[in-house]
Symmetry: C2
Subunit: 208 residues, 2 copies
Amino acid sequence: MLSLANKGLLVVLSGPSGVGKGTVCSFLKSMNPGINFSISATTREARAQEQNGVNYYFLSKDEFINKIDRNEFLEWAEVYGNFYGTPKAVVEEQLVQGKDVLLEIDIQGACKVKESYPEGVFIFLLPPSKEELRKRILGRAADSPETIKKRLSCVDEELAAINNYHYVVVNDRVEQAADKVTAIIKAEKCRLSRNQDMLLNRRRSIID
Amino acid sequence: MLSLANKGLLVVLSGPSGVGKGTVCSFLKSMNPGINFSISATTREARAQEQNGVNYYFLSKDEFINKIDRNEFLEWAEVYGNFYGTPKAVVEEQLVQGKDVLLEIDIQGACKVKESYPEGVFIFLLPPSKEELRKRILGRAADSPETIKKRLSCVDEELAAINNYHYVVVNDRVEQAADKVTAIIKAEKCRLSRNQDMLLNRRRSIID
């Protein structure tokens, strides 16, 4: 396990599907040019406008499974027959270089990452209300009432995972949510536990 | 003891004398009109431009001592024959009303406040460097080398108290320091532990 003390910050932005993680991340990118956004690997086919190494790392199923076997993912999952995962090497390299890395991942993935990186900053993005959540879940696909019910009960399960997180940000207005995430990142850099080396040097210098 | 869960945030900004707490607070006031800055009580005489209830609550020594006896201070201290203290009632009233309150106090005072309010947000303001600190200590008064040595050794003692704090902010540029304190306040409002009531209501509403 990589120690993150005095290294870059690993920020995990997560939340139920449909909560708007992607939209908040788009705002974050424009607000925080210094943050590196982790690029996921996937076995699904690239869409017309998507570029390898920009939107995703596009891998064959064999390549992906080999990487799983070599423990090269921070977290991975199979969704509707396609694999998705966060490549470990790229993230760790950036952290060691003192760069902050943001992962935008689902709740299961975030829980896996937390096992290896408890020092990461875990932010749970919450929908603004029950009505809005229902609307988003209903709006996403023409699902049967049963599927909708299942999705809603999933959300309930997912909400229970919130206790694994350090922060909760309500995504009512995307600019405000992104602003809060930015503040969280800035604040976390000031946490005492992340500044032990700096403090040790300062104390030495004062009693010189 | 007052529980601060789901109430206003108690923010304690502290640090060695000469670090620039007052200057940072002036910036914070202009950046955060929503924050209430606690007004200290003192027995020292009001200076020409100072107003009672604005700069300080000016009290007689008897009044101050009576308040100490009635446990009406969050913290108090005697400095060069004058008493200084933070009146408890005003602070608690604002917190209960959901208002954030910022205390700008010395390190001993902050440690006392932490005993009663561990849920408060404790921020340590650090001087930018040894040279700058020496310069500030030297610049403050025409002290003897012995007094300067004593002050510097005091700073060392004071720095040891930093482990009582949650955050450390280096006051190299006052605007940046104030910006970091602002981010810390914003981030702390998103902490999971401070949003339990909101989350309980949300979970109820989702499984309705």
